[in-house]
């Protein structure tokens, strides 16, 4: 790792932190989540930069979004806030807005080769982010389901019957965030 790359890494990670922090303010995030979402966004971007040379673009984005989504879910449970408030700012650095813009720019100046390259890159990145969020969301959803069903079964064993089970989230027992 040469010194030039290290310098870029530090500068860009710092920029990602500031950018994500400031973006969370722009979307009116609660004050207690600002620092954490900035940190998650910066670490995600740093990891993306580190792995960019050794991994393919698709795998790299997928792994980074796995990490970001996981961190967002855990932190949201600790801070007792909806996952959305951390997940949305956390992905701001990774979302391929500029790639999309660039592809359409090349379309306008009639450079079809570059247009194809960038539009497929944008589609790939957004698809991989979607897959990352999907994986982690499904995992946490499965965990809460297991907890809930176990809770009901335990009640059935101990009392012979469970509480009235509704479709609403079981907030009284703090089972779901």
């Amino acid at each position: 790792m040469d010194i030039n790359f290290l310098f870029t890494l530090i500068i860009q990670t710092l920029a990602a932190f500031i950018g994500v922090y400031v973006t969370s303010i722009m979307v009116d995030a609660p004050k207690r989540t600002l620092f954490v979402s900035g940190l998650i966004g910066a670490l995600g971007w740093g990891a993306y930069l580190l792995m960019r040379t050794s991994l393919s673009e698709a795998l790299n984005v997928y792994l980074c979004s796995l990490g970001i989504a996981f961190a967002a879910q855990v932190v949201a449970r600790v801070l007792k806030t909806p996952v959305t408030t951390i997940l949305i700012p956390g992905f701001y650095a990774l979302v391929p807005g500029v790639t999309l813009y660039r592809s359409l720019y090349f379309l306008i100046i009639n450079d079809m080769e570059n247009f194809n390259k960038y539009i497929s890159l944008a589609g790939l990145t957004s698809g991989m982010i979607a897959l990352g969020i999907l994986t982690i969301d499904s995992f946490f959803n499965a965990m809460t389901r297991i907890q809930k069903i176990n809770h009901i079964n335990k009640q059935k064993r101990e009392h012979g019957h469970a509480d009235f089970v509704t479709d609403a989230p079981d907030w009284k027992n703090k089972k779901e965030i």
Binding site: D28, A29, T84, Y92, I108, L134, D137, W171
Partner: protein, 273 residues
């Protein structure tokens, strides 16, 4: 004679029986208020449904809530058997994470029995105030455009250009939100302004800067990253209608921005030069 009296009693009883209690009405109103707030703050459909359902669960056993990206229907059967329902259409949708967090907290407090419906209503009315002042937000726009220009491996000059471009963007956004323009109008004109501003900057003020990094940094503000994330989570929960709504929203926003930038470049490079 006797029969008539009995009949009268029966009808009287029926009219008395088919009434909604005050608590049920309050629960319905609070649920609708919370749901509308959450939709207009850009929450996912399933989160909105969970919140409204848990509020309704305080008043009865038979209830449901149906949330689309553009409105909601909330219904509850009262203890007496009277079906109650309210539907609302939500036209203006933005993104406000603080509202989502606050409404979530209020609903939880309500379900835990810490507050009653009156206090909950009061807190829901107060929640709409913006958390940060507009001065701070404008400052944040400048910092954001500069830092995203850096993030896209731009150098110091690109960041400075993004910072100056942010000024154009802020003034246009202020103007557009003041007169309630359509999002598409906002995005196309924002794209035009970005193209014009950055071309001007690279030609006369900052010839060292790269035009793409500059524009990319400033456009990050208007890119529909939030709708995109929400669309994925909505579709995952099985709310395909809301998910598709938001994907359409995101695509339209991206198209609007690109058309604006493309038109701006075309005019500046081919017509005016």
């Amino acid at each position: 004679m006797v029969l008539e009296k009995e009949n009268q009693l029966l009808t009287k009883e029926k009219t008395i029986v088919l009434q909604a209690s005050k608590q049920e009405q309050e629960a319905l109103n609070t649920a609708v208020k919370a749901g509308v707030l959450m939709i207009s703050a850009g929450a996912e459909a399933y989160r909105c449904e969970d919140t409204t359902k848990s509020i309704l669960s305080l008043a009865g056993n038979e209830y449901d809530s149906f949330v689309l990206g553009t409105g909601l229907i909330v219904s509850l059967r009262s203890q007496s058997g009277l079906p109650l329902s309210i539907s609302r259409r939500v036209k203006s949708r933005g993104i406000n994470l603080n509202v989502i967090d606050a409404v979530n907290q209020i609903a939880r407090d309500l379900v835990d029995g810490k507050i009653n419906f009156e206090e909950a209503n009061q807190r829901l009315t107060d929640v709409d105030h913006p958390r940060y002042s507009s001065k701070i937000k404008i400052l944040c726009t400048f910092i954001m455009t500069a830092s995203f220009s850096l993030l896209l491996s731009g150098n110091f000059f690109d960041a400075l250009g993004g910072f100056l471009n942010g000024f154009l963007l802020v003034s246009w956004r202020y103007f557009a939100t003041k007169y309630h323009f359509r999002p598409f109008t906002l995005q196309v004109v924002a794209g035009l302004l970005m193209a014009a501003g950055s071309t001007f900057l690279t030609r006369y003020l900052l010839p060292q800067a790269d035009i793409h990094y500059m524009i990319g940094g400033s456009l990050m503000l208007l890119f529909p990253g939030t709708s995109f994330t929400t669309a994925i989570r909505d579709s995952l929960q099985g709310d395909f209608v809301s998910g598709l709504t938001r994907i359409a929203e995101a695509l339209l926003a991206a198209l609007g921005l690109s058309i604006g930038v493309g038109l701006g470049f075309y005019f500046l490079n081919h017509v005016l030069s």
